[in-house]
């Protein structure tokens, strides 16, 4: 890994020289959506040849900022200046014409058209008759793309290329439309390591040509290898802005997660009771070597009955994918999952559920609730076959289960027949919990169980997690809320870029060590607090 001090010469802001001209300035951008202030007075400046990292966790406002910058959204307040002139983009096309190009995660080109046509779409070279000069177009396309490491027949349809090569075509197109600013939204998320190297080379080339780059990524290694400056957003606000070289990884992670450094003690603001009885015995869940292309690289973890295992890591580190792979919702390329010692067929949700695994998905609305059905039907959904005889639903059995869990989880609905879509987020979450508890699971995978629910419901859910663990369930807890993760878990497994990079147990389960492990990512934290924190930045 390239250490920040040993970076190659570049015209980025370096002390002494006259700084290059400011290309783009965002001042006090604010954008509100019903119920959320997605951007709150965010400013950002970009000089020619600067590569700026834009980072932040879920809901930090990165996507909103990019969308305002590229003309998808209009800001409620604040201004955008391009080369010192105030501008206002009504549409993405206007932003593009002004010289701001964006490369999104998913390639947005036309798969069935040839590579060359995609590259030149809308500005094809013409011959004297005004027809497309295919010969010239193909020659120029091949020439341009070889500079991006793409060596393919440019007459073939774009979709015949690999994802990485398609991304390069998108990038080449973005740059060739005379861009002054290129915004790259997680460009490496689907690239192979070799392709990543090529991409980095291209970005460095952009820097030398004086093009400014906004680079969004969750991979810290990449940021330190590539970027000059960094903007950290959190909850729609700017929390850090400065050169990246002087900033150690730990401070960067702390800024993203919104924690103070050295904050070691347990604050006790959550409802978790602390650690559970030291869980013993054979693991109830054992996942080994789970691998999903581009997402997970040999993740292993085990949970014993009565244990709450936290899964830590930054956004995009593979936490959700791990839970889904265990629950059969994501088919792993390789790896095994066993419940109470019995291996199960991976990639099958029904098989996982039969074995006793329940997943509370991260996206409650699109993956959890069935909004048009009642609270009652939603609770009974998974357990329906158990509440029926010969395919006929037993209303009495459903009633008794629904009543039990509505009381136990204190679900507030006007009556069991109310549509679940009309409930508050917290109550919807409890309905989903009830759906799974009605299945009598052995393992509960909770993916962000308290995100987006009010404080009261949050406390209740946390308390419930404790109770369930005490009843002997194995719980996997995923949470971006560090406090929740620390206080709720007996043990925390830390993921980074789809691989386990550390595990904290017992007294090691502190915010400080957790952040160091997330930031450092290599050595497991050592007991006694002497974690490899000092040199993380220089690794």
């Amino acid at each position: 890994m390239a250490a920040p001090p040993a970076r190659e010469p570049c015209p980025a802001p370096s002390a002494g020289d006259t700084p290059p001209a400011e290309v783009l300035a965002l001042r006090g951008l604010t954008r509100t959506f019903p119920g959320v202030r997605a951007l709150d007075g965010v400013s950002l400046s970009l000089r020619a040849g600067e590569v700026r990292a834009l980072v932040g966790e879920n809901g930090a406002g990165k996507s909103t900022l990019i969308k305002v910058l590229t003309g998808v959204y209009r800001p409620d307040a604040g201004s955008i200046e391009l080369h010192g002139e105030p501008v206002r983009f009504g549409t993405p096309l206007e932003a593009q014409h002004a010289g701001i190009s964006t490369i999104y995660q998913e390639v947005n080109l036309i798969p069935l058209m040839s590579v060359a046509r995609n590259l030149f779409l809308g500005r094809e070279p013409r011959n004297r008759l005004g027809l497309i000069d295919f010969g010239r177009m193909h020659r120029e396309a091949a020439g341009t793309l070889s500079g991006y490491g793409v060596r393919a027949d440019v007459r073939r349809p774009l979709r015949s290329l690999g994802v990485g090569a398609q991304q390069m075509v998108a990038l080449a197109r973005a740059v060739s439309v005379d861009a002054r600013v290129v915004v790259m939204d997680e460009p490496t998320s689907s690239l192979e390591p070799r392709e990543v190297e090529t991409l980095f080379g291209v970005v460095r080339g952009l820097r030398e040509r004086g093009i400014a780059v906004v680079y969004v990524s969750h991979r810290l290694d990449e940021l330190y290898e590539l970027c000059d400056t960094v903007t950290v957003l959190r909850d729609g606000r700017l929390v850090h802005d400065g050169p990246l070289a002087g900033l150690d990884r730990l401070s960067l992670v702390a800024a993203m997660l919104g924690r103070e450094l050295g904050e070691v003690r347990r604050k006790g603001t959550t409802e978790f009771s602390g650690s559970h009885q030291a869980a013993e015995g054979e693991p109830v869940l054992k996942a080994e070597d789970l691998t999903v292309p581009h997402k997970l690289h040999g993740v292993s973890l085990s949970i014993r009955p009565g244990e709450v295992v936290g899964l830590g890591g930054l956004l995009g580190s593979g936490r959700t994918e791990t839970a889904k792979a265990v629950a059969g919702a994501l088919a792993p390329g390789s790896g095994t999952v066993a419940v109470a010692g019995v291996p199960l067929r991976t990639g099958s949700t029904p098989a996982a559920i039969r074995a006793g695994i329940s997943l509370l998905p991260e996206d409650r609305k699109s993956e959890g609730i069935v909004p048009g059905l009642s609270v009652r039907e939603n609770i009974a959904l998974a357990a329906l076959p158990r509440l029926s005889r010969l395919g006929l639903v037993s209303e009495a059995r459903i009633d008794s289960v629904v009543e039990t869990f509505m009381r136990r989880l204190r679900i507030k609905a006007s009556d069991p027949h109310q549509k679940v879509g009309e409930l508050s987020g917290g109550n919807q979450q409890k309905v989903l919990l009830a759906r799974w508890l009605a299945m009598n699971p052995k393992v509960l995978l909770l993916d962000e169980p308290t995100r987006g629910i009010d404080v009261g419901a949050k406390a209740e859910v946390q308390k419930l997690v404790d109770e369930l663990a005490e009843d002997g369930l194995g719980v996997l807890l995923i949470s971006s809320d560090l406090e929740e993760l620390i206080e709720g878990s007996d043990r925390v497994v830390v993921l980074k870029d789809g691989a386990v990079v550390g595990e904290l147990t017992g007294d090691e389960v502190t915010e400080d060590l957790l952040m160091r492990t997330i930031a450092g990512g290599a050595e497991p934290a050592l007991p006694g607090g002497t974690a490899p924190g000092g040199e993380v930045a220089g690794r």
Binding site: A327, A329, T349, P350, A352, I353, R354, L359, P361, S366, E367, G368, I369, V370, P371, G372, L373, E377, A380, L381, A382, L384, P385, S388, G391, L392, V393, G421, R435
Partner: protein, 320 residues
């Protein structure tokens, strides 16, 4: 200023839309009954009601299966072709007796249903495309099996088409029985509940471990079997097997009945009573216009108006 003026009005309009979607079809049927009682001679007669009911029975039976498919956020365009196919097969196998012929019809229909279901559930083809393929192919097969119209002279078939029990035609009894059966399946069985959940939020249903593929397969098989029943009944009433034109545009009539009956195309709901009323509404509308000597083109335009109204009522209610 405008914000204040607009805000109270919006929920009102939404409520009217909601009411119209839920109960509009019954109001429409009621209105047509009143209008006809007042204006149409001999409308209030047992004979007339029997005629109307016998005419609506095949559409209604097909619409029941269509309602299931639409409830899963799908559609089944192959129902008309299945009717034609069952007409051909009936004519071909009637020599083995009615029960034997019906068995073969059921096998053919189940095969079409399985093909639809497999394309939708296993291959992942969009329902409209998958069933379009079977719509074209099914009718083709029907015509290959029986190239031209063939008269059917079979006492059992004749009795099925025009016989009655205590004055109620078999056609009506069978249709009523199937309505009750499907309504029961939707309301009381795990299959019915799972169908609605899959139609409302497929991802959630999948993650909750529901047998999504199996339910979809069963839905398309049911739809095909119901269409086959309608095809046999229509053939019995005609006393002829007509694979070329039997069931033509039936898929559209069935979709109309379901949509007019208040079942949203976005899935997650199945209204059986509404579907019955929807089929009856279209039938009464057609009969009324014909009785008053308006050309058939008027009927089509009136149907179009009803569909537009139904779509208007359902507007914006599909997705939240």
């Amino acid at each position: 200023m405008t914000g204040i003026a607009v805000r109270p009005a919006a929920p009102d309009r939404a409520r009217i839309g909601h009411w119209l979607q839920r109960y509009g079809v019954y109001a429409g049927v009621g209105l047509l009954l009143v209008v006809n009682t007042a204006l149409t001679p001999h409308f209030l007669s047992v004979e007339n009601f029997r005629t109307q009911a016998v005419q609506v029975a095949p559409v209604l039976i097909v619409a029941l299966g269509m309602a299931l498919a639409i409830g899963t956020e799908g559609v089944d365009l192959s129902v008309g072709a299945v009717m034609a196919l069952s007409a051909s097969v009936t004519a071909l196998y009637l020599g083995y007796g009615l029960p034997g012929a019906l068995l073969v019809v059921a096998l053919f229909a189940a095969a079409v249903g399985l093909a639809n279901g497999a394309l939708v559930a296993l291959v992942g083809v969009q329902p409209i495309v998958a069933t379009l393929a079977l719509m074209v192919g099914g009718r083709g097969l029907a015509q290959v099996l029986l190239p031209q119209l063939e008269d059917i002279r079979n006492p059992a078939m004749a009795s099925l088409g025009s016989g009655d029990l205590l004055g109620v035609p078999y056609l009506i009894l069978i249709a009523a029985g199937l309505v009750l059966l499907v309504a029961f399946a939707v309301r009381r069985t795990t299959f019915g509940r799972q169908l609605l959940a899959i139609g409302d939020n497929r991802t959630a249903a999948q993650l909750a471990g529901l047998p999504v593929k199996r339910v979809l397969m069963v839905v398309y098989v049911c739809s095909a079997l119901l269409a086959a029943v309608a095809g046999v009944l229509a053939t019995a009433r005609l006393q002829a097997s007509d694979p070329t034109s039997l069931g033509n545009l039936m898929e559209l009539s069935a979709i109309t009945a379901v949509v007019v009956g208040g079942t949203p195309l976005s899935g997650g709901q199945v209204r059986i009573a509404g579907t019955v009323a929807g089929a009856v509404l279209i039938q009464l509308l057609t009969a009324t216009l014909i009785k008053h000597d308006l050309p058939p083109s008027w009927t089509q335009m009136a149907q179009a108006a009803v569909i537009v109204l139904a779509v208007y009522a359902a507007r914006g209610r599909g997705r939240r």
